[in-house]
């Protein structure tokens, strides 16, 4: 079926007004040899058939709310999303609107983004937030771009911790391809125990940015105050990639004096959805606002004296500045910024702290139980947040296969990114994992350790 509401009679009347004889007539600019190809696609389904087909496809997955017990994290987390979030997102006025270029009839979106910006600033302890990036990884890459712009290309070195998410590091590498920028510090074969101190010696007066993750990819929580100070002392900027759930509990990057905080907003009310769409958040100091990428909403008044909101500092953006824009981003993750605003409004300080603590305690319970299994141990010590690295004493892939037979997604196999960690699983625990589930994992792993 189509969604075209023009009858044959109306079509003919319209063609007459245009002065065309047929629909085909309208396409005479298209080279005749290539005009009207026959598309080899399956015949149209009606809505009823499409609904059934998509249900079949969805059912042929095994999902994490009933089919499988999941301890997978590594950048996408199984959190509870309160029902009210999606009820807001389903408001047609929100999701069928475009970017709020016409503020008089877009105050819903504009105020919601303004609130999102405020919430993200408050959460990260920073002064300004933009209206979102595609995801945490691209937000990190945009942090590199911003640092590049800040030094007008005069500094070209980025120090990256090896315990930044491997996919984020890969994306940064993709983004800088044409920029002549050098990345140092993130050798996956290097010493992973070293922690942030090891980065300090890499920072020099060519360094434009230091990029660390908090909690890091292995779940560890480091206080980056010192390395950030070291960056500042060399005139470099520091960016902290952060899991926003952790900020319900932990010291903010703002308190550590970070210049930029980025991360993925998925834990804030966005379903895992096989990895996307999520949102990338980006907060910084007010002094960098003109170098910042992405849209910004600012407060103002309308000509009736009403408080209102508009897109502001648009001269940074591609539609004005074109090749000299701070970024090429146009469509962003607006609706998911709304989701995060609703999520944070619903949880508030009490709720977010509760979620963070549940994650923390459950992960620690799991870690302690798992480390007690003969032959297994925690790879790194405390403090960690809701993810930790378990050394299995045998190939992680084997163990995971065993767990899957028990209906368990056992965690992320770190050997995929760190050749030295072939026997290691990155295990994530959230408020969704009951003690019973954790105990099931422990039992299944104990069993595996006996094989």
């Amino acid at each position: 079926m189509t969604y075209i509401p023009i009858s044959a009679r109306e079509r003919d009347a319209m063609l007459a007004t245009i002065g065309a004889k047929s629909l085909d007539d309208l396409f005479r600019d298209v080279p005749a040899a290539h005009r009207f190809p026959k598309l080899d696609l399956p015949p149209a389904l009606t809505e009823m058939e499409a609904a059934a087909e998509l249900q079949d496809i969805a059912l042929s997955n095994e999902h994490t709310r009933g089919d499988l017990i999941s301890f997978l994290g590594a950048g996408s987390y199984n959190h509870y999303v309160p029902a009210a979030v999606d009820h807001v997102l389903r408001r047609g006025e929100f999701y069928t609107a475009y970017t709020p270029y016409q503020p008089e009839i877009s105050q819903g979106t504009l105020q919601a983004i303004f609130e999102y910006q405020s919430l993200m600033a408050a959460l990260t302890g920073m002064e300004v937030s933009n209206a979102s990036h595609y995801d945490g990884a691209t937000a990190a890459a945009e942090a590199v771009n911003m640092a590049f712009a800040q030094y007008r290309g005069k500094r070209r070195k980025v120090v990256i911790s090896p315990s930044v998410h491997p996919q984020y590091r890969a994306v940064v590498r993709t983004y800088i391809q044409g920029m002549g920028v050098e990345i140092v510090g993130d050798d996956p074969q290097g010493d992973l125990d070293a922690g942030p101190d090891a980065l300090e010696s890499l920072i020099d007066d060519q360094t434009m940015l230091v990029l660390v993750q908090y909690p890091d990819f292995f779940g560890r929580v480091f206080d980056y105050t010192k390395v950030i100070a070291a960056a500042h002392s060399k005139g470099a900027l520091a960016c902290v990639i952060t899991n926003p759930t952790a900020l319900g509990l932990l010291k903010t990057p703002g308190e550590m004096d970070a210049d930029i905080v980025v991360g993925d907003g998925q834990p804030l009310g966005i379903p895992m959805w096989f990895g996307g769409p999520t949102l990338g958040y980006f907060t910084t100091r007010k002094s960098y606002v003109h170098k910042m990428a992405g849209r910004l909403v600012g407060e103002t008044i309308d000509n009736r004296g009403q408080r209102a909101y508009v897109l502001t500092l648009t001269a940074r953006e591609q539609h004005i500045k074109r090749e000299r824009a701070t970024s090429n981003i146009c469509t962003n993750q607006g609706l998911l910024a709304l989701a995060s605003a609703v999520y944070l409004s619903l949880l508030g300080q009490k709720g977010l702290r509760q979620v963070a603590e549940l994650c923390y305690h459950k992960a620690h319970y799991a870690a302690q139980k798992l480390a007690a299994i003969p032959g297994m141990k925690l790879c790194f010590g405390d403090p960690f947040f809701h993810e930790f690295t378990l050394c299995l004493g045998r190939p992680a892939a084997e163990v995971n296969a065993h767990l899957l037979e028990h209906g368990i997604l056992g965690g992320y196999e770190l050997g995929q990114d760190y050749p030295g960690l072939k026997e290691h699983l990155l295990i994530a625990v959230t408020e969704m994992n009951t003690k019973e589930e954790i105990d099931t994992l422990v039992d299944a792993l104990s069993e595996a350790s006996h094989d």
Partner: protein
């Protein structure tokens, strides 16, 4: 006597979520821990958590009210040129929320997510068939992200051939801002190519610009004037002849479904905007989804990973889908696999429901509607490039002997219940009003829109103040943009204040 300015505090139509906060409220609570408590890392705890506190009812009322300050496609006609604001079928909202999609983790073993992978594979194939490109990546998050992907691929292609001297990207003056911005992100020089009097690429200028320093050209076709380039085959040939690659900005693909395959016109690479052509809703700014298709010679450079069949099926077993990495991949454009749930599932549903004939209908009727509007409006609004348009066209929002501008026309349309067209883009038309009706609007709506615009054209002469002051009937009036940029109040919370009371 000193002069004092009394600051009149603005009227608050709807308080912010911070304004509404009150200590002790919460919108949702979580279970008590069912495990023993671990010691918290005291020195690493945050001092305070300055988030607002509200009950669920307050949150729902607040955002419900905010939503009513918005205008969406569900509210009415939204002829925003270049944005393809077609109706978003409701079934898509349901299919993309099926639990099997919502709750799958991107790193699950492929055996457990064959449904997702099959859907992605199928979508890749469909986009190939529609566009003529033999390989597709679904990873890019939006159009601009697709452009950037494309430019990186073009760059990698030339370098793989050992040709590093190509440092220029040709871009027409009518191009969307993301085109130069995307090229700029890879350090390329932008060479602007003028348009000719009929709105085509100026072939002489193009030839003059073409040499062995040209990486390629980024072209939107139909272009942002809504015009199909009359010499498109010449354009692509000229660029190819100098060794350059042709990048197609697929934002305007809604004009071409079943009409022509862009690959057959000589494009080497193109992004799709699933959020335009394939009815993924725009979400008040996003998320979108910007897959990229490439010709065979560029397939090896696609970002990783792609979905492919990793074990052929047989009569009684389906094939096994998995991820593969192209040989000379430019790398990863984002974490995980692209905008699966919000983008691909909706677009898949949409294409499945249209089939080959339905897709062709989309483009035919999108073009019919645009030409109909143009035909009815051209007497009152000057159409600078007055020939058969594709899915959109550009008129001028100015009138002889009147100081009314396109902006005023746009704002006045709001009073008639319509969303304004895009204005001041493309940059090469004065006071541009870029009108894209899409195929999902009926004739009654189009006629009512024309009537309003004709009325406004009269008002522009008889009562211009009506336009200058417009909108008058909306909840909010024109904005003080200068104040916003000068005062830069970008959030209602600041570290030094805790929760600001405005």
């Amino acid at each position: 006597m000193t002069e004092t300015t009394v600051a009149v505090s603005p009227k608050i139509v709807e308080p912010t979520i911070f304004d509404l906060s009150s200590t002790g409220r919460t919108g949702v609570t979580f279970p008590e821990p069912d495990v023993p408590l671990a010691k918290l890392p005291t020195s690493l705890l945050r001092k305070d958590l300055p988030l607002p506190e509200l009950a669920e009812v307050d949150v729902i009322r607040h955002y419900t009210r905010l939503s009513t300050f918005n205008y969406g496609v569900d509210s009415g006609f939204y002829p925003l040129g270049s944005c393809t604001m077609k109706y978003n079928p409701k079934i898509n909202e349901d299919t993309c929320r099926l639990p099997g999609f919502l709750f799958t983790h991107p790193l699950q073993p492929v055996e457990t997510v064959q449904g997702n992978l099959a859907l992605m594979y199928q979508l890749q194939e469909w986009l190939q068939e529609i566009s003529g490109f033999p390989a597709i990546t679904l990873q890019p998050a939006a159009g601009a992200h697709g452009e950037f992907t494309g430019v990186l691929i073009m760059r990698a292609y030339h370098r793989a051939r050992g040709d590093a001297k190509r440092i220029k990207m040709l871009i027409p003056d009518s191009a969307h801002g993301t085109n130069p911005a995307s090229a700029g992100m890879t350090g390329l020089q932008i060479v602007q190519i003028p348009s000719d009097a009929r709105g085509n690429v100026d072939l002489e200028a193009l030839k003059a610009a073409c040499d062995d320093t040209v990486l390629g050209m980024m072209l939107t076709n139909p272009n942002t004037l809504g015009l199909f380039d009359e010499h498109i085959l010449d354009v692509t040939k000229i660029v190819h002849d100098c060794g350059g690659l042709m990048y197609g900005d697929g934002a305007n693909l809604n004009a071409l479904l079943g009409i022509v395959r862009p690959a057959e016109l000589g494009f080497d690479i193109m992004h799709f905007n699933l959020h335009k052509t394939f009815a993924v809703p725009h979400g008040g700014g996003g998320p979108g989804s910007g897959p990229v298709g490439v010709a065979a010679h560029l397939a090896d450079f696609l970002p990783a990973p792609l979905v492919d069949i990793v074990e052929e099926g047989s009569d009684d077993t389906p094939p096994l889908f998995g991820f593969v990495t192209p040989k000379q991949s430019i790398g990863r454009m984002k974490a995980f696999h692209g905008h699966f749930g919000g983008g691909m599932v909706r677009a898949f549903t949409y294409i499945a429901m249209h089939g080959p004939d339905g897709l062709k209908d989309i483009s035919q009727y999108a073009v019919l509607n645009a030409n109909y509007l143009m035909a009815r409006l051209r007497k009152a609004y000057h159409v600078p490039f007055d020939r058969t348009c594709m899915h959109e066209f550009v008129a001028e929002g100015r009138f002889e002997g009147s100081d009314v501008r396109a902006l005023d026309v746009a704002k006045r349309l709001m009073d008639y219940g319509f969303h304004p067209p895009t204005n001041y883009f493309p940059l090469i038309v004065h006071e541009a009003l870029m009108i894209e009706p899409t195929e999902t609007e009926n004739k009654d709506t189009l006629d009512a829109f024309v009537d309003a615009l004709l009325k406004i054209a009269e008002e522009a002469k008889s009562q211009p103040s009506l336009l200058h002051d417009a909108p008058l009937t909306t909840k909010f009036g024109r904005m003080d943009e200068v104040k916003a940029a000068r005062e830069l109040v970008l959030c209602c919370w600041l570290p030094e204040n805790g929760i600001a009371d405005i």
